[in-house]
Structure formats: C-alpha cells, structure tokens
Symmetry: C2
C-alpha cells in the first residue's frame, strides 16, 4: 500500500485511479471539475481542492491532464515545494518532449524526480490493466513507480532510458503510427469498395495475416462499420493535439514526416466539419469523402 496523489480524472484517469484504489492504495485526488472525481470517494479516495493538497512530502504524485498548458499550470513553485526532496512526479500526460525536459530540470533543481510515464491504452484497456507504459528518467524514480503502473493500467512497462523526455517521444511515435495506420486502412478500404471488392473480406485477410495487431483489428472494424463516435472515445481534438506535438517535435529536430502532415490535415478536416464528438478514427472520413463515399 502506498499513499499517492492523483491529479486529473478524465476518460483515462478515472479507470486508472479506480484500479489503484482497488489495489489497496490510498489516494488523494484532485480534478479541476470536482464532480468528475466524486465516483472515487466510495472507493475510499479523498477528494482535495488543489493540486498541492494531493501531495505528500517525499511521496509520489501522478498527473494525467489534457495538454502541456494544463500540466504547467499544476507544476507551480508551491507544487514543487510540497513534493520536496526525494518526491516523485509520474507524469502520464501526452505532452511535448520540450515541456517534459523543462519540467524534469525544474524538479531536479528542487531535489525531486520527474518521470515521464505516458499511457498506451484506450480507457477500456486501462480499466482491464491491459495497457502499456513507456517510462524514462531517473532510475531510482522509475523503480519507485513501477508497481503502481502495473496496479493502475499496465500489462507491460518499456524502459526508454534516463533522458526524461524519451518516453514522450515514444508516445508521440505510437500515436503517429496509429493515425498513419488508420489512414492506410481508410485508403485501402476505399480502393476495395470502389472496385467492387467487399472491404470486409479485405479486412479479414489483412488482420489475420499481415496486420494482426489490435490497431488494425479494432480501428479497422470501426472504419468498416463507420463507427466514428463513441461514448468512451479518444476525441479527434485530442488526436489533433498529439499530431500537433509530433509535427512540433519533427520541426524542432528537422525531421520531414509526410504522413504526419497528411494525418494532421485529416484531423483538421474532421474538426472543420464541427464533429466535436468524433473519435479520432474519424480521420478515415477524409479518404472516404475524397472518393465520394460516406
């Protein structure tokens, strides 16, 4: 049992916090919209009124928020003082590697440790502890949070080294690969449909032979069935933010990435049509609509 601060109860944060509570850990939970955290009370969580109130000196705090700005708002001088010497901040958000590097340096200056531990999982996979974690940063800090990541959402933990921002680069690569795979399938299924080949038959061949991973299986089925919105979906607006970060990271490192540019345009098109509840798999509508299909 550990005492943990947990900041950020969104689609992903909720199942992870639930899992940690069920594993017997004590959680102090903060969320900007307090109501969203309330379901955790009956599992024994203490809901607090500020990020700082969630932290124990020298303890462990998890953050899982929507973007760089939200995380920077949380990591104030008061936050760093509360975390104190030897405290560990496990940052699970998908943020810019630049922000991760800067925050890691701020923590180090105050004697605490910043570990990047982004989540590879949709909410339902996190709930089932079938997610994956990439971690990077100080070795001792990584060791302290390892079991908590397993208790919270992860089936596997991949160590990306000691450079704090590495796990964030990895997370961006993962999301870029997913977006690119969705575009690939969209173009393929459109070519099938427009040539009188049953796209379902193409899907079955591809996903049982050459492209067996869950991305092709799950997102492929969503594209086939035109399921572009979902209750617990990963929103197109969040997907756009992630591809923004891919392109920013590519730009900063002088890395031309034409498929990243393409999926960025696709996501802009989804949002330009006002589809605010769309899952990011709706980027497939680009290839469909361009070819005159619904």
């Amino acid at each position: 049992m550990q005492k943990i601060g947990f900041i950020g109860i969104g689609n992903l944060g909720l199942p992870i916090a639930e899992n940690l509570l069920k594993a017997g850990h004590q959680l102090k939970v903060y969320n900007r919209t307090r109501e969203k955290a309330l379901p955790l009370e009956k599992l024994g969580a203490e809901i607090v009124d500020s990020p700082v109130a969630a932290i124990e000196k020298g303890g462990i705090v998890f953050t899982l928020v929507s973007d760089d700005a939200a995380l920077r708002d949380i990591v104030t001088p008061a936050f760093l003082a509360a975390l104190g010497t030897g405290g560990v901040h496990a940052s699970m958000s998908t943020i810019s590697p630049v922000t991760a590097g800067e925050l890691a340096a701020l923590h180090k200056k105050e004697g605490s440790i910043y570990i990047a531990s982004p989540v590879f999982a949709r909410p339902e996979a996190a709930a089932a502890k079938m997610g994956n974690a990439a971690i990077s940063g100080d070795a001792a800090g990584k060791e302290r949070i390892r079991q908590l990541l397993l208790d919270g959402f992860a089936k596997n933990i991949f160590d990306m080294g000691t450079k704090p921002e590495n796990a964030n680069v990895m997370k961006l690569i993962g999301n870029f690969m997913i977006a690119g795979a969705m575009e690939l399938m969209a173009e393929s299924f459109v070519l099938a449909e427009k040539n009188g080949l049953d796209a379902k038959a193409a899907y079955e061949l591809l996903t049982t032979t050459l492209f067996t991973g869950p991305i092709f299986r799950n997102y492929g089925a969503m594209i086939l069935n035109r399921e572009f919105e979902g209750e617990r979906s990963f929103k197109a607006s969040l997907g756009l933010k992630d591809i923004d970060l891919v392109l920013e990271t590519a730009r900063n490192s002088y890395t031309p990435m034409p498929i990243a540019n393409l999926v960025h345009q696709r996501l802009l098109t989804v949002l330009s049509k006002g589809r605010r509840d769309a899952d990011w798999v709706a980027l497939a509508t680009g290839a469909l609509n361009d070819a005159g299909l619904k």
Copy 2:
C-alpha cells in the same frame, strides 16, 4: 496427384514448383530462361519449350510471371485452344485488375476458367508453405485449385468472391499496406533517432504491443539494421510496378490515395539512385535521407 502446367520460375515460382513436386504432383514447366527451371528436373519436372507445351486439355495451368505484358504474351489463342473446355488457368501474378478482367473474359469465351490466385508471401515463406492466397473467380474453378495452393505455398486461402479481378485488387491493397507500413516505420524511427531515443527500443515497444504483425516485425528490423539488399529479396523495381498498378487502379476508380502517391515517389527515388539490387524496403531510405541520416 495432379498433372499441372507451371509457367514462370522466378524467386517465387521456384519454391512453389518445388513444393508441388514434393507433394507428388507431375509438373510440366516452362520458363523463358530455361536454365532457371533446370533445378526442378531432379525433382521430376519435365521442362518444356513453350507455354503451350506445358498444358493438358481440360487440365490446370499455373502462371507466375513478372508483369501484365509477360502474362498477355503467354495467353495466346494457341494457349487458350490447348487449355480447352473446362481447363483452369490459375493466375498467380500480381497484375492489373483490368488485365485480369479481360483475360477472364477471353477464357470464358473459349469455355475455360480463369482464376486469380495471387501469392501473399516472400520466397522463404512460400517455401515453408506459410504464405497466404487470395482467390477469385468461378466457384468450381476455385475448388479445383484449392488443394494445389495449399500444397504449393499457402497456409490460408481467402475467397474474394466470383468477380475474377477481386483477388488482384486485394493483392494490390496488401502491397500498398506493406509499402505504407514501411514508410510509417521509417518516419517513426527517424523521429526517434533525431530526438535521442533508441530506435530499437521504439521498435520493441511497437512490435510487441500495437503493431505485432510480421510486416512490422520483419521489415522494421530491416530498416533498423539498414538491410536494404538481400539475396532472395523482393526488388524495388517489382515494388514500383505494384504501386504503379495501385495508382492505375485508383485512377480508374477515381480514388485519391495520398499514401500510395508518397510511396510511389519513394520507390522512384530508390531507383533513380541506381540501386538495382535494392529490396523494396529501401523505400525507407527516403525518410532517412530527407532527414540527413544514412
């Protein structure tokens, strides 16, 4: 045991013909360059001097040649007359759906059956009978060649329906997906390397979690290790031909496919640099070189 004609002994044709002979079938074999077929003699094949000489009336003939023109050269009026009523031509080449449709009509007119049965396998997988087959065309014709495909190279057979060209559209989609996956990995690994993340660590995470298929595993390793040439490779020039056919099929059906355009350009660049022995995975050098990496 069946008597079969087999036309086209290339990188793929050789292991498939070997497997058919080892399974006990009698083969009459024709290859434009006769020497390439000679190793099959000691397995009991009869090497003949023309495509027509390989055929029995009402029998089964396989063709596996490099492109549409080579196949059209083979399917002469004499060829169709030799095949006769009830004969089955199993066409394994990766060719244009347009050509497939035209050849199917020609066969039908003469009372024979044209089945598209393109091969999803690199030569080593075909040799191990771990390949996959997509088949389309007349139901009775498909039934007659099913066991031969299993004996020759296929672990699974996927039925794409009765429209003769469907399996060719499927094959083009498969190769498009592979080319796109290689480009995706190339862009990802470059982003990793240019940001101080070990591309091998990224590869391990991706291929053991989200992208578990053989394409990511095998071609990903080749990209990581810069293995762009290989003894039994699938040549960049053949990959270019396949992507030519994807774009032709896309053009004919008014299907915009931006990733197909991109990988087409990548393959042109490989060949523009005179890399005649390159495997088509060398398309990954586009993303590498664009970002200043070797």
